[in-house]
């Protein structure tokens, strides 16, 4: 327990240092790298706090997708901040300082960290911990809560991704149904990176295989549709980076991805409606099979599939959109 607490202090202090560095460094490229480190540090912290599923997600998002998108943006907007006006905004600084102090005082009333008898541990959570292995029949309680008890939140989450994807595509490309693939000049640049291409060819199948493992192993260990979707998308994005966007689009054209993004939401929603038609409530999986536990199994499998499909196709689609947009495409005054 001492080790846990010592690590806790070290990791959190490192996080604060990284955050302050992000605030102070002017080179945007460096700050993006720092925010990748920040993501990795927080993921490590989440492992320490027993939140393995969260850590998995944070590692793939905070240290993976987010810096990747940031780098894509920096290639448009340039690397350095304008530094003519270097002023510390004193009022803002004081405001944050004062509100921080007030909050510090208030947090001393928080239930003590790590206690077993805090309200958060005592009330709703008890059922998830004690009954979910029997009620749902899968060992990973996070998956049980995510997919079944609070399955509607997760449907909302998938909807958020869908919304963002539609938004990104229409903002960057101006269309949801784009025409033919454009070939990028950058495609040829990668041709002399033989080593990268060969290693990539070795790794991509493994990455995709690992994504499937994470997808279907989420009931038993950390993982699930979201993490699997991100990993799958990473494989495709790696392919697109190494072998050119036009090749990637031949495998996964944009209209297909767009359809898949919507399809994932539809799969999720249809499982809910199926529960309704089978005589239960919306998203009630117990009525999907003859006995409740196998019904839960089936329901969770299907909705995780929906999540995976939407997430994977959205991430690839967002990557395409950032790669295909040209910053001065004359569509300023659309």
């Amino acid at each position: 327990m001492i080790v846990t607490q010592a690590l806790d202090v070290v990791l959190l202090l490192l996080l604060v240092m990284t955050a302050v560095a992000i605030a102070r460094v002017k080179d945007l490229f460096a700050t993006v790298m720092l925010s990748g480190i920040y993501g990795l540090l927080s993921a490590s912290f989440f492992v320490l706090m027993d939140a393995v599923d969260v850590a998995f997600t944070e590692a793939s998002v905070g240290a993976g997708i987010f810096p990747l998108l940031m780098l894509a943006v920096l290639s448009f907007v340039g690397r350095y901040e304008a530094d003519s006006k270097r002023r510390v905004a004193l009022p803002v600084f004081l405001l944050t300082l004062v509100s921080g102090a007030v909050l510090l005082l208030a947090t001393t009333q928080m239930p003590a960290f790590g206690g077993e008898d805090t309200p958060a541990q005592q009330h709703v959570a008890v059922r998830y911990i004690e009954d979910s292995p029997q009620e749902i029949g899968i060992p990973n309680m996070v998956t049980s809560v995510l997919a079944s008890y609070r399955g509607f939140d997760t449907l909302g989450e998938v909807l958020v991704i869908f919304t963002a994807t539609i938004g990104v595509v229409v903002v960057l490309l101006g269309v949801v149904q784009p025409g033919k693939a454009r070939s990028l000049p950058a495609d040829e640049d990668m041709a002399d990176h033989k080593v990268l291409r060969i290693v990539g060819k070795m790794l991509i199948p493994l990455i995709l295989l690992f994504a499937l493992y994470v997808q279907f192993h989420g009931d038993y260990g950390p993982g699930g549709g979201f993490q699997a979707g991100v990993i799958f998308a990473t494989g495709i994005i790696l392919y697109a980076m190494l072998f050119g966007l036009s090749n990637a689009q031949r495998v996964l054209p944009m209209p297909l991805l767009r359809g898949l993004t919507a399809l994932g939401v539809m799969i999720y929603g249809s499982v809910g409606v199926a529960g309704l038609l089978a005589g239960g409530n919306f998203l009630d999986y117990s009525v999907l099979a003859s006995d409740p536990v196998s019904g839960q199994h089936l329901g969770i499998l299907l909705i995780e599939l929906g999540v995976g499909v939407t997430v994977a196709s959205s991430m690839v689609l967002i990557f395409y959109a950032f790669s295909l947009t040209t910053s001065s495409d004359g569509s300023v005054e659309r």
Binding site: A19, E81, L104, F113, E116, A164, V168, F322
Partner: protein, 113 residues
Amino acid sequence: MDFFNYWVVIALMMTGLYIVMAQQNLVKKLLGLNIFQTAIFILYISVAKVLGGTAPIYTESATLYSNPLPHVLILTAIVVGIATMALALALVVRIHGAYGSIEDDEIRDRSKQ
């Protein structure tokens, strides 16, 4: 020691908020927002931790588990966060194309024209 995690949460929140409000660069503001959101994640996950407990995956040997509910909430929040970031970055790219700048004050000047 009981409240150290929460103090760090507040320090991170305020750092993030400061970056969002005080920095002029649009990309930097988003990095600040990211710090702020991660601070919230740390808050929730700290609330969920039970000292001496294990990850909430049922095993024969364990009896004490950390609370799975905040984990679920934060999984959702992380996804919401990255979705927001993606949209924000798309807007930044377009703003750069339209204004030729990603500095707050310059854009404000040019908006008025």
